[in-house]
Amino acid sequence: MNLWNRLMCFSRRRSPWLFHMNSGSCNGCDIELIASLTPRYDAEQLGVRLEGSPRHADILCITGPVTRNSVQAIKTVYGQVCGPKAVVAIGSCPATTNVFIDSRTLDGPLNRHLPVDVFVPGCPPRPDAIIQGIAAAAGILAERAAKRWPAESVMVPMADPESACDCTKCDCTKEDKSSADTPAREVQP
């Protein structure tokens, strides 16, 4: 690792900028994320900053169980974050869809749509836990900064075709499914 890369790693680890996205959350995790940046917990002293634009951010913080209406927006915003990037899923909702499981208007959990780096479970997680999750994501970001940002990392994995297609109700064969669903899809920035 040359000096430039070492410097990049250091700065990525020490100043992760966040973009916060609500994918149908109940506001609990969103308020706790803001609380973790304010004087009591004060993540800002660690260089963490909430940014207004995804293009300025390094870490995408996503809350909520991923409603159908927000899926496309999440993918678009993920494409707008410049690499290297990391995704932190805050709360139990993006991890498992929580109490909203079985809802027909949800398209969660989050890792069906985006590669999630850190899950911070809890309903809602305490601000301490959120800061720990962001710190872990900053470490991952520094590792990624050490390498060249690979082109395939902007590819978003699709949902598993096995789980996407309910075979008890449709008569397609396995070959049909694998040809119909490409394994990865590129997100248009």
């Binding site: 149908g24 109940c26 506001n27 609990g28 308020i31 706790e32 304010t38 009591r40």
Partner: protein, 360 residues
């Protein structure tokens, strides 16, 4: 020539995903359209598949800011169906938790309003103040957001030392009088950003049917805690602050004065709290068939629940929720007419919108 500026659904000025289409002429807003539904989780449908214990946990997660209000209203309407009456101490604990929630919600809103004014120091001050309330809520319930205090026929946890909460109430009151209220009312930054913008006249407020602090800031003296008392509010003495101006400053003042009134209610509830049981026990609960409704004054206004139960059913057959933002939302259109584009984030935030409640 008019042009359309879309704001949202993911915009730094918005705390939640919703979309505001502003039709502008130059810098002046001529019309606004609101698109919601990004938070639609289908909770009302999910509630029909949950039994009476699970439905409380589900409805608590309608909104993370007013989570206690939703379970309180739901439990009140389910108590009407079961015929259970909570013991007096439980009613007082419900008042304490509801008022603590109002405190943290209003302080949070003041912080967000300060941030939208571009007054970041005040935002940080408000959030620091809010942590005092969160400490008490955590000490009472064990959690910072979803308190799970309410159950059918009472509350889940007791307040062991009511007088210890009084110290927080005093500290909060002192800080409000010393810092927050003077800065919001006298500082030229706050005054120039709030006074005279986003005006909702009394007539318009009546025709839109707005509720809560938005109505009280337009000169409509309505408050369910006084008009249709629930829990132990009939035994409390408090005033309902009303401001006639109808602008953002009036809404700010109403909320600031409500914080003081909440402190007053908390002090009475904590000192007068009667001893005794906190719930009606673990006996099997039998629901009567029928529909029960309950109304509660949430921090943002009136919340109404209507719960229907069929004979011998395990799950409710319908849980209908009407949230305050649903009533306040249309008034934003009248507030932003003729406003400057730069003022619209603050104006739309001044009704304290909660779209996760509204979409559900």
């Amino acid at each position: 020539m008019s042009y359309k500026i879309p704001m949202g659904p993911y915009h730094p000025a918005l705390e939640e995903p919703y979309k505001l289409d502003l039709i502008c002429e130059g810098e002046t807003v001529r019309d606004a359209k609101l698109h919601i539904g990004f938070n639609f989780r289908g909770i009302e449908h999910l509630a029909e598949t949950r039994n009476y214990i699970q439905v409380i946990a589900l409805m608590e997660r309608v909104c993370g800011i007013c989570s206690n209000i939703h379970t309180l209203t739901l439990c009140q309407s389910m108590e009407q169906l079961t015929g259970l009456t909570p013991p007096p101490r439980a009613l007082y604990i419900r008042v304490v938790v509801a008022e603590l929630e109002r405190l943290h919600s209003h302080v949070l809103w003041a912080g967000i309003a300060a941030k939208l004014m571009g007054f970041k120091t005040m935002f940080m001050t408000c959030f620091e103040l809010r942590e005092k309330v969160m400490d008490v809520l955590q000490a009472i319930s064990g959690n910072r957001v979803n308190y799970s205090m309410n159950r059918i026929g009472g509350v889940n946890r007791d307040i062991d030392d009511p007088l210890a909460v009084l110290a927080m109430v005093q500290a909060l009151e002192r800080e409000m009088v010393r810092t927050v209220i003077p800065i919001f009312t006298t500082s030229s930054t706050a005054r120039s950003r709030c006074a005279g913008i986003g005006i909702l006249t009394r007539e318009k407020a009546l025709s839109c049917g707005v509720v809560g602090p938005t109505a009280r800031a337009s000169g409509l003296p309505q408050d369910l805690r006084r008009d249709a008392p629930y829990a132990a509010y009939s035994e409390m003495e408090f005033n309902v602050p009303v401001q006639p101006d109808g602008d953002v400053r009036a809404r700010l003042l109403v909320r600031a004065l409500e914080i003081m009134e909440s402190c007053k209610i908390l002090r009475q509830a904590l000192t007068k709290m009667p001893p005794g049981e906190i719930n009606t026990g673990d006996a099997k609960i039998v629901f009567a068939a029928g529909t029960a409704t309950s109304r509660v004054e949430a921090p943002r206004g009136e919340v109404m629940y209507s719960v229907s139960w069929k004979q011998d059913a395990k799950n409710p057959s319908r849980v209908h929720v009407r949230t305050p933002t649903f009533a306040n939302m249309p008034s934003v259109r009248w507030m932003v007419l003729g406003a400057r584009l730069a003022d619209t984030p603050l104006i739309q935030a001044s009704i304290d919108p909660c779209y996760s409640c509204t979409d559900r």
